[in-house]
Amino acid sequence: MIDEKSPISESVPTIPPQKVTTMRTTKFEETVAGYLFLAPALIIFVVFLVIPLVMAVYISFTDWNGITPLRDDDAFETIGDDNYQQLLTQEGRRQTRFFTAVKNTTYYVIGVVPTQTLIALILAVIVNQKWLKARGTFRTIAYLPSITSSVVISIVFLWLFSRGGLVNAFIELLYPSYGDKAINWTDDSTGVFHWVLKQFGVTRADVGDWASEKHYGLRTWDWISGPSVTMLMIMILNTWTTIGTLMVIFLAALQNIPSYVYEAAAIDGANIWQIFRKVTVPLLRPTTFFVITLGLIGCFQVFDQVYIIGGGDATLTVAVLVYRNAFGTGSNMGLATATAMILFVIIFIFTVLQRRFFGGERANW
């Protein structure tokens, strides 16, 4: 897993392989010990990871409602790829909801992942500067949100962003006329792009028929809505939470770049921007891709914050849809597991693409 050529792994001590000469431990004893040591963890992984995964695949091809005990004869019937068709190709409410969730999640990922990566990188570079004092303090403050419960953060942000809350009060401080049209952050389903277009007087009626054409259950106009205002707030929240962790990861990588690299670049006459662009960024490549993968995987599965803050279709994400399909009204475990499997495939594709095209030889956890 360690990229041998990366400058980071060079500092990891490696012990030259040696022949272990043991006289008393026989091969058999070692095998028994090996499996005994592994057994507890392995059993947990098989029972609670492998078996559920196999079950998920199977159930996604059935119409099981999730309530009738599986032992009953008439608990479920296998219905082929019906669940997948209802979600992906067959026109109807389920398809519309699924693609609404896909749309929201996509805007979420596109908004959050680059933002948090870029801000974390810039902050880490600043914190890593030689002239900086109180490095530890900044790192501590940055990391504090990462140890806080997502539910707590959601509640606190719900309060800060409430209509009469501190965020609106702060904006009003900067723009005194803001008070009349204060944004209702926590409950506004208007798409951000729609809102911007409306400021220029553009509505769906103005742009022609193409906007009303339906693709995958949603009108073109709805596809280009952008994240809703409430979703934007959740995006701000999650960026705020994650930056600290990512910054600490970047910082650790930066500290592994030996100072002579920068000195050499400075002697060659490179300015600060050139050093950042041509030295720091390339050397951080593996870390950056690790951070992006981490961000992608996390963002595609966003649930807690949306569950606490959001409601309705404007903030529906795929992970929340999985939950709703499983436990909401007219629940259907088959449909819900199918939704989860599609999400799995999406995440998997992104992980593989990332590895293949960007050469980040790092696993993702």
């Binding site: 091969k27 963890a41 609670f48 998920a56 504090l144 997502s150 956890w365």
Partner: protein, 327 residues
């Protein structure tokens, strides 16, 4: 001629450099201070507002400094004109001024009247349980994969690695179904057993054990010690850094876990953890959010982790760096 020209550029360059040397720290500090404020202010506001009366929370400007009288009653009982006893809510300006406010424990009292002590116990119990089991199981498995030679070693390691690819959301429902079918739903074991070993933990411990010189074990083996003795008496005592990092991550992860807990025990309120309890309160109060008790609950949920964080900061940071570098 050329020398003069180059000297001039040299001078110009050093001038720019000097300017940069002053400008960079100024810009850098400005950015960092703004960022630090953004990161820390929500916490400070939460703490101070958790000690306020409900109306005072919504008043502006925000007051931050608590002054006596301490522990005022936010809803005093008064006798109205008709001679009936009735509770009134103190208006904001009775308890808060421009920068100061009279602290109250009303929010804390209210949240403790909910089942908060129970939730606190559950959260601590489950987090500690998961933490200790993970320390044991993950280090055992990590040691086996790192040091013991047996057929299947490599295959099992790649199996563990490939399992890391599975996103949690996929396992969520079938894990729920599995626990439901074997009748473990809504029980403590449901919150502990499935999480008692972690792929990441096994990987972390394996990496760590591989960095320990083999000579140590060889010496012990020559002395006739068995694998179990070596592991528990020799290896574990010198594995404190990795074990601490793993302990902290496990504890923190389980303490804050929401989605899994929501699925596995939501229909039994005796088993709720702090995050789950708070989320249900949010649903119960609806639009009439009792912010002071909510914020009090938030403080109580965050405080233990914050204390651990400040005590073991080094390990948090090392652990995160570890995932980043070795990942």
């Amino acid at each position: 001629m050329t020398t003069i020209a180059s000297a001039q550029t040299q001078q110009a360059r050093s001038g720019t450099r000097r300017m940069i040397n002053v400008a960079m720290p100024t810009i850098g500090y400005t950015i960092l201070v703004i960022f630090a404020l953004i990161q820390i202010l929500p916490f400070l506001f939460t703490i101070s507002n958790s000690f306020k009366c409900l109306p005072a929370i919504q008043s502006y400007p925000q007051s931050l400094v608590p002054v006596p009288p301490v522990d005022v009653t936010c809803e005093p009982t008064i006798i109205d004109d008709a001679g009936r006893e009735r509770k009134t809510v103190l208006p904001a300006d009775e308890t808060s001024k421009e920068l100061t406010f009279n602290p109250t424990l009303d929010g804390y009292r209210e949240i403790f009247d909910q089942k908060l002590p129970r939730w606190l116990f559950n959260t601590a119990f489950v987090s500690l349980g998961v933490m200790f089991l993970r320390l044991l199981f993950d280090s055992l498995a990590g040691y086996s994969l790192a040091r013991l030679k047996f057929p299947g070693n490599r295959i099992i390691f790649f199996f563990v690695l490939s399992l890391l690819m599975i996103p949690g959301i996929v396992l969520l429902l079938p894990r729920f179904i599995l626990l439901k079918e074997i009748g473990l739903l809504n029980s403590y074991p449901a919150l502990i057993i499935p999480f008692s070993a972690s792929l990441f933990g096994v990987f972390l411990m394996k990496q760590f054990f591989e960095s320990i010189p083999k000579e140590l074990e060889e010496a012990a083996m020559v002395d006739g010690a068995g694998r179990f003795t070596i592991f528990f008496r020799l290896i574990l005592p010198i594995s404190t850094p990795a074990m601490t990092a793993l302990a902290i991550f496990s504890f923190q992860g389980m303490w804050n876990e929401f989605l899994q807990v929501l699925l596995l025990v939501s229909s039994k309120s005796e088993l709720w953890t702090l995050p789950l309890g708070l989320s249900f309160l949010r649903g119960e109060f609806g639009e009439q959010l009792r912010w002071h008790s909510f914020l009090a609950g938030s403080v109580i949920t965050t405080l233990p982790l914050a204390l651990i964080f400040f005590m073991f900061q080094r390990y948090f940071v090392e652990g995160v760096s570890y995932t980043g570098l070795k990942g």
